[in-house]
């Protein structure tokens, strides 16, 4: 049964990893604008000849 200790600790480490990912995402500004990216993703880049 002692394996449960290990399991719990591992799962907590994984969860902390997700928390760290969330904090990083907030810090890098991904939560500052929760609307524009949803529009931006729908634009097609078809006029590549101008680039």
């Amino acid at each position: 049964m002692t394996v449960v200790f290990l399991l719990i600790l591992v799962s907590l480490v994984v969860a902390l990893g997700f928390l760290a990912a969330f904090l990083w995402a907030v810090r890098s500004g991904q939560y500052d604008d929760d609307y524009t990216p949803s529009v931006r993703i729908l634009f097609d880049e078809k006029q590549t000849e101008n680039d």
Partner: protein, 816 residues
């Protein structure tokens, strides 16, 4: 022929106008649209933008959203020479290292997906721009450009040329005032949510009531982990509650945060003690849930309007720079560097930045936004002009007598009312409840303690702490954010934007109301014309006047054009018109079918003072050398004003404050029930004093206004509402902003908001029931973690559901 049968041809033209929408901006095209590349445009401006986009392969703009463009009609081209001044430039940009410069602009025109697409493809129009990103909700663009390839001025001119002129005003020069995105709240919410989920998981064995003796080391291990996970919840996520409770206590106030902070602290200490002493499992799960739900409530309450500013002062109304004349040369200089004695040049449509004396030119100044006077004022050289007025007409040369910040108008901002610190964000209603709540809870807790102490000391402590835990007013604290937060959103859907949820509460206690006239209950934009003169104009004469008026974009000419259009009189073909000329700020003249027409100010026509009392307000008409009379501009009350005043009367006594003259006193008397409630010729300062006097008599004042002249009174009043035709335009600092198109709905909106307070009372009723149930367990010292774990989330969720469903149903009852 057309003149003889004007109605038929007019209808035909109107029908065509209905059908053709401008390819660029989607607004209906005038009778003779600009045709280019087989597409119809309403004006040259729109065609030019199309041309720019077309030549650069950016026509996808028109496919993302139809008629996406921003209309350029009636907008004069701004000059951006001042952006070359190093002083202005360095204060506008966010960052520069000499090569790359980052700058951010507010673009009020942003309204659709096409806007985002075009603005993020700016590099195709100017290869100096290396990055551009749009924040749609804030209507902002973040630009990075290379200094060696382009300049700030060129970038702004590019934006302006495609219809997205950035809003640059004196206020943009203050960098400190720009809001910094505060992300700490998101961190706190994230941490609390994370801990809540994990603690719940670790508490499951407890919920299931597994045998403790068998695996007791597991329970201990989970308990330690729970303590470890709760520490950041209490001391990081919940830190705001401790801070605010402490602040409240220091001010000798028992705010709602006091019992909250107390509850959180007792929760934590008792749980930690139980876990460390291996006696019980503690309530860490309920604690984390409590903090998480509280923060979610706060988040719901805070999500308001990003692009609307409630804190604007005169600096947001004034431009960045003025043209200073020195040694015969004009150079742009930023407004705060202007000194008394400087000579500046003000052109048609520009703002007078500071009090000054006219050196050269004839002033025709529109003070309507500043003082509430509806009609422009005419002044010859040598007269004084005041800051904030807008020149309409010829170019003026002014000698400044005051600095910008010390002018007559801007001095208003030195008043005490503006020095008032932002009041505490806490809700008054919640704090009133909090006061009684805290006292009651402490009494019950102490009673339980006293009752049990002689019998069973541990049970006494248990009961006392359990009372504090279970009574922690989570449900009370959630009611206001969710109910008023949702009310805010419902009002926002009807273009009535409130600064925060406290404004809803403030509506409840209003006892006196003050209403401004010009621009508030009358419109600034629309007006109708009445022709005064004998004999009345013949059809031919009307058609002639329509022909010369429709050539001009001046607002008064447009008014005449619309007036005739309503009567079904179209302009004649351009071939019948000759010698048309516009005399800026004075009038227009032209020859139609050989007959000379002149239209304009009395001086332009040559009318002397004794010929009419409507001297400065009328548009005079001269046909074939004979003065025929004048068009009187009548201002109209906005439709729905009567209903509004009626609704306001339900809230309290209503008074009218106007900066205008008493011309309309009689017309307004029936509305305001006796002339005593109407005050004319009020200066901005007098308006402020008036509100202050009412407040000294003990009234809670609500003020509805619009212009700069109301700024002081709006700020002084307990609740200031601003009416605006365009929420992107300047509005003085206020608590709420109403879009003029929702004006007729204002009575309903106010009634709805005031009624919504009853929902909060209802939610408090629920909270009371839950608390009584919880307390009945607690005083017996028998609050098990399971009961707490069920009761806490259950009460929170029912309050949230009750608040959201209740406010939506209430809105439906008011047909909103």
């Amino acid at each position: 022929m057309t003149a003889a049968n004007p109605t038929g041809s007019g209808e035909k033209r109107l029908r065509i106008a209905d059908q053709t929408a401008c390819y660029h901006c989607g607004e209906p095209c005038p009778a003779s649209p600009v045709v280019y590349d087989e597409k119809h445009f309403c004006c040259e401006g729109c065609r030019t933008v199309f041309d720019i986009l077309n030549n650069n392969g950016l026509c996808q703009y028109y496919q993302i959203d139809e008629n996406a463009g921003v209309s350029l009609r009636g907008k004069s081209k701004e000059e951006y020479a001042y952006l070359d001044e190093p002083d202005v430039r360095s204060r506008l940009v966010d960052f520069t290292d000499g090569e790359r410069t980052r700058v951010r602009f507010f673009l009020p025109q942003i309204h659709c997906a096409s806007c985002i697409w075009l603005l993020e493809n700016l590099y195709k129009l100017n290869d100096g721009i290396v990055a551009s990103q749009v924040n749609f909700l804030k209507k902002e663009i973040y630009l990075t450009f290379l200094e060696e390839k382009t300049t700030l001025r060129k970038v702004v001119e590019l934006l302006s040329s495609i219809g997205y002129a950035p809003a640059i005003n004196l206020g943009s020069l203050d960098k400190e005032k720009r809001p910094v995105t505060d992300r700490s709240f998101t961190y706190k919410l994230g941490v609390a949510g994370f801990a809540f989920g994990n603690i719940m998981l670790l508490s499951f064995p407890e919920y299931l009531g597994l045998e403790k003796d068998q695996d007791s080391y597991f329970f201990q291990f989970f308990g330690y982990l729970n303590i470890f996970l709760s520490i950041p919840v209490v001391f990081y996520s919940g830190s705001d509650y401790f801070r605010s409770a402490w602040l409240g206590l220091k001010n000798k106030e028992l705010t709602i945060d006091v019992p909250l902070a107390l509850g959180i602290l007792v929760y934590f200490i008792r749980s930690a003690y139980e876990i460390l002493s291996h006696s019980e499992a503690g309530y860490m799960d309920s604690l984390a849930g409590l903090v998480f739900f509280l923060l979610v409530g706060k988040w719901f309450q805070q999500r308001t309007y990003h692009h609307i500013s409630f804190e604007r002062d005169y600096r947001s109304y004034f431009p960045v720079a003025a043209r200073r004349k020195q040694d015969g040369q004009e150079r742009p200089v930023s407004l705060d560097l202007l000194e008394p004695g400087d000579v500046i040049v003000v052109r048609h449509g520009e703002l007078i930045p500071a009090d000054a004396v006219i050196l050269r030119g004839e002033a025709r100044i529109d003070y309507s936004f500043v003082t509430g006077e509806a009609q422009p004022v005419l002044l010859p050289a040598g007269e004084k002009v005041f800051a904030g007025g807008r020149q309409q007409g010829a170019t003026l040369e002014l000698s400044l007598t005051k600095r910008v910040a010390q002018s007559y108008l801007t001095q208003l901002w030195n008043e005490e009312a503006f020095a008032k610190k932002q009041e505490m964000q806490a809700s008054r209603l919640a704090n009133q409840i909090g006061k009684y709540f805290t006292i009651t809870i402490l009494l019950i807790g102490v009673a339980a303690l006293v009752y049990w102490l002689p019998r069973d000391a541990t049970r006494a402590i248990n009961a006392f702490t359990a009372v504090l835990i279970v009574a922690c007013p989570c449900a009370v604290a959630l009611a206001i954010p969710f109910i008023f937060g949702n009310v805010l959103r419902i009002l926002g859907r009807h273009q009535f934007y409130l600064k925060n949820t406290n404004v809803v509460e403030a509506m409840r206690s209003v006892t006196k109301l003050v209403v401004d006239k010009t621009g508030t209950i009358t419109t600034r934009m629309k007006g109708d014309l009445d022709f005064m003169g004998e004999p009345p104009l013949t059809l031919e004469e009307q058609a002639g006047l329509q022909t010369i008026a429709s050539q001009s974009v001046h607002p008064l000419s447009q008014l005449i054009r619309l007036h005739f259009e309503h009567q079904g009189i179209p302009p004649l073909e351009n071939t019948r018109l000759s010698g048309w000329e516009e005399f800026t700020g004075r009038g227009i003249a032209g020859v139609v079918d050989g007959i000379p027409y002149r239209l304009g100010s009395p001086e332009f026509i040559g009318v002397t003072a004794d010929e009419g009392e409507a001297q400065d307000s009328g548009i005079w008409v001269e046909i074939n050398g004979i003065v025929r009379g004048y068009f009187a501009v009548t201002q109209y009350l906005r439709p729905g004003t009567e209903a509004l005043i009626h609704a306001l009367r339900e809230m309290g006594e209503v008074a009218l404050l106007s900066g205008d003259n008493e011309r309309e006193r009689e017309q307004l008397t029936p509305l305001f029930e006796g002339a005593g409630q109407m005050h004319f010729r009020m200066s901005p300062k007098e308006k402020l004093q008036f509100v202050k006097r009412l407040q000294e008599e003990g009234a809670q004042v609500m003020m509805i206004g619009d212009g700069l002249n109301d700024a002081g009174a709006l700020k002084q009043s307990n609740l200031g509402i601003v009416i605006t035709e365009d929420t992107n335009n300047f509005t003085p600092a206020s608590d709420a902003i109403l879009h003029a198109s929702s004006y007729t709905r204002l009575p309903q909106l106010l009634r709805f908001a005031r009624k919504s307070v009853h929902l909060v009372y209802g939610a408090y009723g629920f909270a009371l029931v839950y608390n009584l149930i919880g307390l009945s367990f607690a005083v017996q010292g028998a609050l098990s973690p399971l009961v707490a774990a069920i009761l806490m989330p259950l009460s929170s969720v029912t309050i949230v559901l009750f608040g959201l469903v209740g406010s939506n149903l209430l809105a439906r009852r008011f047909h909103l």
